[in-house]
Amino acid sequence: MAWMLFPTNPALSALVLFLILLPFLYAARDPVHRLFGALVRTVAQPLRLAARWFDAAAIAMRQRNEVVLLAEGRAEITQAIQREFERVTAIVRRDLQGYPALQRRLLDEITRIEEDYTKCGEVPPPPPEWIKAVETMAKIRHTGDGLVQKILEQISSSIVDIYDKVLAEYRRSYKDRHKILEGFQPFWRSLEQTLTRVSKNLTGLEESAHRIDAQMEKYEQIVARSDNVVQALTSSAATQFVTAALVVAIAIGGAFVNFWLIARPMAAMVGGGEYLAGGLEAAHVAALVILLVEAAMGLFLMESLRITHLFPRIYNMQDRMRMRLAWIAFGILLILAGVEVALAVMRDLIIAADLELKRGLATATSATPMETSWVTKIPVAGQMILGFVLPFALAFVAIPLEYLISSGRTVLGVVVVGVMRSVALVLRMASNVSRHLATALVMLYDIIIFLPILIERAIRSRQLPPDVSEMPRHGGLRKTG
């Protein structure tokens, strides 16, 4: 080794070399310290700048997310309030519109009841005047005269007859009044039903009013940009996102089943053994295209029925045009479902032919055809039903898809903000670590050249008063932050 002053003793060589270098290292102490400082600044400052940028970007993004979230929330609540008002309008139009007629009917019924009641109040005519004559005759003293006795007996029997007649008349009159009162019953019932309906409608209106109040309260909070409502909307978006993702995953499962149901028979339509560039089998691509077209038609159907609002142009279309579009989408969907039914039959034929061939290949003699009872047709029927139902089921994916997209924006925004903040934190930590590392390097350098430093301190302590010499000497690092 060329650097070894004592070839037989490397340790001694290294020590001597170190001692030779020591004065130079001491002399270069300040420049080296500054070099460390500069190096640290080179690394730490960009890191800190990057951290600040990420922080600022995260804040900006959070504000933007908040604005979007509040706008979405406002739109949703506006829609809900609108729907409630529509409901109220419908109730008012349906029930309160008929209120004048209802009132007239009620008044008529009440008038009739009053008239009947008045009739009930009519009393039978007062007893005839001759009763007074009878009373006068009754005061005649009994003398034992036979003629008088006879006359009185005749009068008595006449009175009994008349009394019976009057009593009968009185009872008939009461019977009539009871009949009138009996006739009240259906009126009362009708009255009760009408009033119950009115009460129910009014309760419905009251509930709607409560709901509108609640929505309005939320709306006011959104307008006031309350933190609570932002948190509630974020949490609601996250829940919606998870739920929608789950439903979309289920729909993807259904689409997967549908795909394998039609992929094989598609070979009969577009040709087996045909490949697109990249090794994609044409039959598989065609099956996938059919599924995607079904999903698209489902989307248009839902859109034109105003169940989803992904395409504002469709949503705002004229009603007649919109309904026409809905019918077209439904028609295409129906045709595709029919195609899938046909493909299900074709699939069964292909599988049966394959099985027959394989049985024939496995046995030396020609294979006997399989028994075709109704039981063997069940899987075909099942496939046909699945083929018909799945496209329509797939059409409903538009609803969770809309939720997934709208809530995905919020969830993704929150995740991105979180990631940006984490990156900013990591960068800030890295900046701090590099600064401390520089301090450590300075100290390490001083440890290496501790001998000249000790000598310097000793000399200084002799030259300076004791209180000044005891002051610690700081490293050459400047504060970077």
């Binding site: 087996g272 697109l276 995607l292 061939l357």
Partner: protein, 219 residues
């Protein structure tokens, strides 16, 4: 409506691309050479088993040919059966059934066993057939003991061109002389491998266990 029109256009475009795709790149072509010379005729049942496996494995659009190896095999007349299966799966199935029935001819032809074994001629014929199909994956299956014997007039010392073709030797039985000196057997196989690889073959394989015919295609 514009969106709908755009979507329909996109679907049509995808279907058009599907229609214009490279039709042959992924198709498979297999040429089976069956040795019908001498004692090897006893192995014909196994050859039928191999052909049945191929019929069950090949897809619509693939090609299959079976030819016999006899004293001079460089001839189309030695092709026992050949077919390029239709794209329609049902039609392809019918073709496969017909192919299986044609294979009965092989047993009849093998009854008159040949005195010599011209494997090179068979390979030349196979390469010609496979290159004509234009398939993406081409395979020659040689069902033989790989012992070539030529008469004096037959000239087969010519270079082969097997570029892009896999060559698989199947059921390579040991001869009586191989039992006495196994080096003859290994030497024979090494010589064939060297020759096939020199001819530009993509791969050379040997499959003696017919219970695992999936190894024929490198499975």
């Amino acid at each position: 409506m514009k969106t709908l029109a755009r979507l329909v256009f996109l679907v049509l475009a995808v279907l058009a691309v599907a229609g214009c795709a490279d039709k042959k790149t992924y198709a498979r072509a297999v040429y089976v050479l069956v040795d019908t010379s001498g004692t090897y005729t006893k192995e014909l049942d196994k050859a039928n088993q191999l052909v049945n496996y191929l019929l069950g494995t090949l897809n619509p659009g693939d090609s299959l040919a079976v030819a016999r190896v006899k004293s001079r095999s460089f001839s189309e007349k030695d092709i026992v059966a050949k077919a390029t299966f239709a794209k329609d799966p049902l039609q392809a199935n019918a073709q496969k059934r017909a192919f299986k029935e044609q294979m009965a001819k092989l047993a009849q032809l093998a009854k008159t066993g040949s005195a010599y074994t011209d494997i090179t001629g068979g390979i030349l014929q196979a390469a010609e057939f496979l290159n004509e199909t234009g398939a993406g994956r081409k395979t020659i299956l040689i069902f033989s003991d790989m012992q070539e014997e030529l008469d004096k007039q037959t000239m087969r010392n010519i270079p082969l061109n097997l570029t892009g073709i896999d060559v698989v030797a199947l059921n390579v039985t040991k001869l009586g002389t191989d039992n006495m000196d196994p080096r003859r057997y290994t030497g024979r196989l090494e010589q064939w491998e060297k020759r096939v690889r020199a001819a530009g073959a993509t791969d050379w394989r040997m499959v003696n266990d017919l219970e695992h015919l999936e190894r024929v295609f490198g499975g």
